[in-house]
Amino acid sequence: MIDLIIDGAQVQVPAGTSILEAVLRMGREIPHFCYHPKLAVVGSCRMCQVEVQGAPKLVISCATPVAEGMEVLTASERATKARKAVLEFLLLNHPLDCPICDKGGECPLQDYTFKYGPGESRFVEEKVHRIKHQPIGPFVVFDAERCILCSRCVRFCNDVVGTSELGVFSRGDRSVIGLFPGQSLDNKYSGNVIDLCPVGALTSRDYRFKSRPWDLVTQVPSVCGLCSAGCNIVVDVRHKEQGQQLLRIRPRINDDVNGYWICDDR
C-alpha cells in the first residue's frame, strides 16, 4: 500500500493505482474525457492534469501512478488554469447545438464547462464545419462536429470487441472518426460506444430526440432476460400522461457479470 496526500487528505491506495483512480476512490472528481476504467490509457485529452508537489510540470493523473509520500493538488491555480484551457480548446470548434443534442443534460463536456470552464469564448475565427447526423451503423448516429477525439469508441472496437471498425482518420485538427468506405458499425456490441462517448458525437438511433434526460424520471435497475448471461442493466423510463414509456436500456456496472458493457440484442 502507498501513502500519499491528496489535497491535504492522507490517502492509502494499492501500489500501481493512478492518481486519478485514487481520487475517484475517495469519491471525489477529477474531470476527464479519454480515461475509462476498462480501456487502455492514452492520456491524450489532457483534462485530468494535476499538480504534484516538486514536479516541474503538471502531470496527467490518469497515467501517473501514485508514489509514497506524493503530494497531489487537484485544484491548484496552475491545474485549474490548465483545466479551463483544455475546455476552452475543446469548445473552439464544438457546435452550440446543445439544445437539440441528445447528450445535453448528461454530457460531461457540458457539465465540466459549467463547473470548470470559461464563461465566454475568446475564439473569433469561424468554427470548422464537419459532417453531422450521419448513421454509421444500425444503432449509432455520428456527429463529427461534436467529437472531441477522446478515442474511447475506437479503443472499444479495437481492444474490447476486436473488430476495429472505427478509426481516427487524418491528423491534427483535421482528425475525424471514420470507417472504411462502405463499412458500417454493426458488431454485436456497437451500442456501447453511445454510452462511452463523453459528448454527443455518437448517439442512439432508437432514442434520438425521444426525451430529455431529466425527463427520464425512473431509472430502474434490472437484469437483461434475453439470454442466460444476465447482464445488469438500467432501464430508463419516462412518465407520460398516458402512462410509462420505456425509452432506453443502459449497462449497469457489474464486474462479475457484464463489466461496463451490454450487447446490441433486443
Binding site: L166, F169, S170, R171, G178, F180, P181
Partner: protein, 168 residues
C-alpha cells in the same frame, strides 16, 4: 507487386504490420494512388482491419486515396523558401499549369502540391519532382520548368511504366 516483393519486405520485420508503409508506397507507385482493392489486400495480408489501414494512410501526407496526376510537383512553402519567394513560385506554377495548388491538370499529367519543408533549404526556394530536387527556383524559371516536364512526360508516356522519371 509480386509475391516475392511482399515476402522480401515482410522478412525485414519481426511483426508484419511494420511492412505497411513500405507496401503502401509500392501499391501507390503501381496504381498512382491507393485503390480500395489495394487497401483490402493489405489489410488481409497484414492482419489489420481495413479501417486501420485507412487510419495510417490518411495520417501521412504522401498517400492518396484518389487518382491524381502522373507526376507530382511539390513546391515548398515553408520558412526558408518563403523568405526567398516561394509564394511567387507557387503562383507561377498555378499559372503555367492552369490549376490551383492541390489540383491536377486536365490531361492528368501533373498534380501541384504545396508542401512543408523538404529538408533542402540550402537551395531554397525548392521544388521536388519525383526523387529530384530543384533549386533555387526563381519565379521566372517556372514556365520553362513546366515545359521541360511536359516534354519529359511526352517521352516517358511512350513506354508503359507509370513511374515518374527522376532525371531532371
Amino acid at each position: 507487386m509480386t509475391e516475392e516483393t511482399i515476402h522480401k519486405i515482410l522478412s525485414r520485420y519481426p511483426h508484419r504490420r511494420s511492412a505497411l508503409l513500405p507496401l503502401l508506397h509500392l501499391c501507390q507507385q503501381e496504381a498512382g494512388y491507393l485503390t480500395d482493392e489495394a487497401l483490402r489486400l493489405l489489410s488481409k495480408r497484414l492482419g489489420l482491419s481495413p479501417t486501420q489501414v485507412v487510419e495510417v494512410v490518411t495520417f501521412y501526407d504522401m498517400f492518396h486515396l484518389k487518382p491524381g496526376g502522373q507526376r507530382e510537383i511539390w513546391v515548398c512553402h515553408n520558412l526558408s523558401c518563403s523568405l526567398l519567394g516561394a509564394e511567387k513560385v507557387v503562383r507561377r506554377f498555378e499559372e503555367a499549369l492552369g490549376i490551383g495548388a492541390g489540383e491536377t491538370t486536365q490531361d492528368g499529367l501533373f498534380r501541384l502540391k504545396r508542401v512543408e519543408c523538404l529538408a533542402a533549404c540550402g537551395i531554397a526556394p525548392v521544388v521536388q519532382v519525383g526523387a529530384e530536387y530543384y533549386g533555387p527556383v526563381s519565379p521566372q524559371d517556372v514556365a520553362q520548368f513546366v515545359e521541360r516536364l511536359r516534354a519529359q512526360s511526352a517521352v516517358s508516356n511512350q513506354g508503359s511504366a507509370f513511374l515518374p522519371k527522376a532525371d531532371g
